[in-house]
Amino acid sequence: MEVERELRTHLEDLVEEAGKAGCHAKDIENYVQCRFGSPQNVAATFSGVYRRERLLLATISTATLGLVMSLVGACFVGVTQWSLLAAFGRLDPRAFSRSHLLMELILTVGTILGFLAFYLLEHSFVRRPVAKAILSVIALFLITDLVLRIWVVAPGGALIGAFFCAVLVRAAEGCFRSRMWKLTFTVIGITGFGVAVACLGRGASADTWTLVGPVWMSVAASCALVAWCSERYGPVLLTSSPA
């Protein structure tokens, strides 16, 4: 990074000056820090200089990551659903109707983006980050519901389901340290939620368990992947700098 190169050169000049002034080796560090100032203050001032560029870069990176994850998740769930229906000889056209696919898309993408929103908003707020993130995500879902009702279709329970699943994934990330436990909780939680909703709607049957269960497991797997990507790439996105 250019900034690092520039500051390093300045510090080298200061060290050289301190040496010429007769400072002992152990005093040079104090001399340099006294002249240069606190690294935290310098870093804080620099982050203000490039704030707009960093925000733009973080927004573009986050939007790209969200889009890619949503596409991957939606495709994964769609392929799983189709494969199951084909395997059980249940290729019902209603399963691939526009309205059904739209609801599935809203559910999967809503869950993925909902979790991403939780993650990023929590790391953006300083005071009471969890409470503010929850309120912000609820507001985002309400706005999305309104937009969908006006321009596309009333999402019904799909958006509520997406919010609930996003909360589950967030809870898994917050309550457990081990990736294995996070994955287990996510899969059991989301699959259990999906099967429970299906049982309420259609009644508990072998069909419900054998068809609905694996589809919801694929949704859960997508969500677990998103959570892992957020943990892996989130800090990079949030601290990205153009300089």
Partner: protein, 111 residues
């Protein structure tokens, strides 16, 4: 008597522009020149110079170029752009107006 650092913070851009109007310099050199011209009155955290330099560069008042010195050390030399020269003159005029007004008020109070 050392000058309050908060006063200095507000005028660092003006100092940078005026110093660079004479000749191009790198960061450490700007500090040395400011110390020399002020007879060591001005002392500020040198790390804060660089955010100011980058801010001025982003605004288009400065341009920068990396060069390798004889000792092998890489230095980033800053110089004024045409906009920077205008801004230096404008900032100087504003400063003279500001300090002139303050001096007038202080002189009238002591009279």
């Amino acid at each position: 008597m050392n000058v309050n650092r908060e006063l200095l913070k507000g005028s660092i851009s003006l100092l940078i522009l005026r110093l660079l109007k004479k000749r191009e310099m790198y960061g450490y050199e700007i500090i040395q020149e400011a110390h020399r011209l002020s007879r060591n009155t001005f002392e500020f955290n040198e790390g804060t110079l660089y955010p100011a330099l980058h801010q001025l560069e982003l605004k288009g008042f400065l341009k920068a170029e990396w060069r390798t010195a004889e000792n092998g050390r890489e230095r980033k030399y800053y110089s004024l752009t045409a906009r920077g020269i205008k801004q230096a003159d404008q900032a100087h005029a504003e400063w003279k107006l500001f300090t002139g007004t303050i001096d007038t008020i202080l002189a009238s109070e002591s009279a």
